[in-house]
Assembly symmetry: C2
Homo-oligomer: 194 residues x 2
């Protein structure tokens, strides 16, 4: 664990860049997330971050990966191990709420195609995907977990984006919660019925 002993070497520039990038993202949106601004905020020259990130995309990917981890924590905090449709709906509500609370972060996480990107990032999304599938499996052991989890993820993801884009009524958190909950439960009542 390096320390900032001198004033030349930063000590932990990698982490400092990530932190600065996250702060800039919250303050100015994704437009303000420039490598130079990150370097300025970290109190370092404009090109120093290149020692830790190959290019801007690499930094953004790192931020996105952190976002995935935080999203996973946020969902787990909503309910540790949901087993009923109602508990699962709570997780869905947490998903949408995460998107509305950190819109810029959420957009970065799902902005550009991340297929050929950092392995860290695809692993993080795979973790989310598996997490959702596990919940669905626990909630509905009988049904096909792959198909059902895809459907519920898409529904919740779509709700998040439509709210983010102002296409739906996001006036009060309660309205958002109720809508998400209703949509998820409607989706699940069919597989529970058969």
């Amino acid at each position: 664990m390096p320390q900032a002993s001198s004033s030349y070497h930063h000590g932990d520039l990698r982490a400092a860049c990530l932190r600065a990038a996250r702060d800039l993202l919250e303050e100015d949106g994704s437009a303000g997330l420039s490598l130079r601004a990150v370097a300025r905020r970290a109190g370092v020259s404009a090109t120093a971050p290149y020692r830790h990130y190959a290019d801007r995309d690499a930094l953004v990917s790192a931020v996105a990966a952190e976002g995935y981890r935080e999203l996973a924590e946020h969902l787990a905090a909503a309910h540790p191990s949901p087993k009923t449709p109602d508990e699962l709906a709570s997780v869905a509500v947490a998903y949408v709420r995460f998107a509305l609370d950190r819109p810029a972060m959420f957009r970065v996480m799902f902005a550009e195609p991340c297929d050929p990107n950092s392995e860290e990032r695809v692993a993080a999304t795979a973790a989310i995907s598996g997490y959702v599938r596990g919940i669905v499996h626990a909630t509905f052991p009988g049904s096909d977990p792959d198909a059902l989890s895809t459907t519920v993820w898409a529904l919740v993801h779509g709700l998040a984006f439509l709210h983010l884009d102002g296409k739906l009524d996001s006036s009060t958190p309660e309205a958002v919660d109720a809508q998400v909950r209703a949509a998820v439960q409607a989706l699940f009542s069919v597989s529970a019925a058969r």
Copy 2:
């Protein structure tokens, strides 16, 4: 309808910029969509487009608005007036297919928040929203059209984005179609049952 009589005045730079922007978007993705590149392609100086678009965002918004119109046409072409869940599923398939065929355009359409943006753009999205609601209402006259149409739109929108981000199996168009169709019909069988 202006004509390009001289070589100084372009004739219809506004339309030419839109066209160039769309072409650049398809070729190089949203990263290649710069005002200067648009001007170059239109064979005009770098600052000429400012006579027709206030700034880059205005041009992008115009492109997005055109995308909304084309999406509406694309959906209508899938089925002019769907009245059964199966016909509605065809429209959903067309929605996702549109996103996968023009990924950069689709991302532009749903990228930045468009609330305070051009009136043209919000009107276009309102048209889409109303269109979906009309279809849902025609398909299920009994149920609450607002809630149901929101749910189905979110589901389809989410499927489109997850496919776009490589989170789902998009290997063959048939696989995508089948998945979308299954998801939509699962969603609707519940409101048909009651």
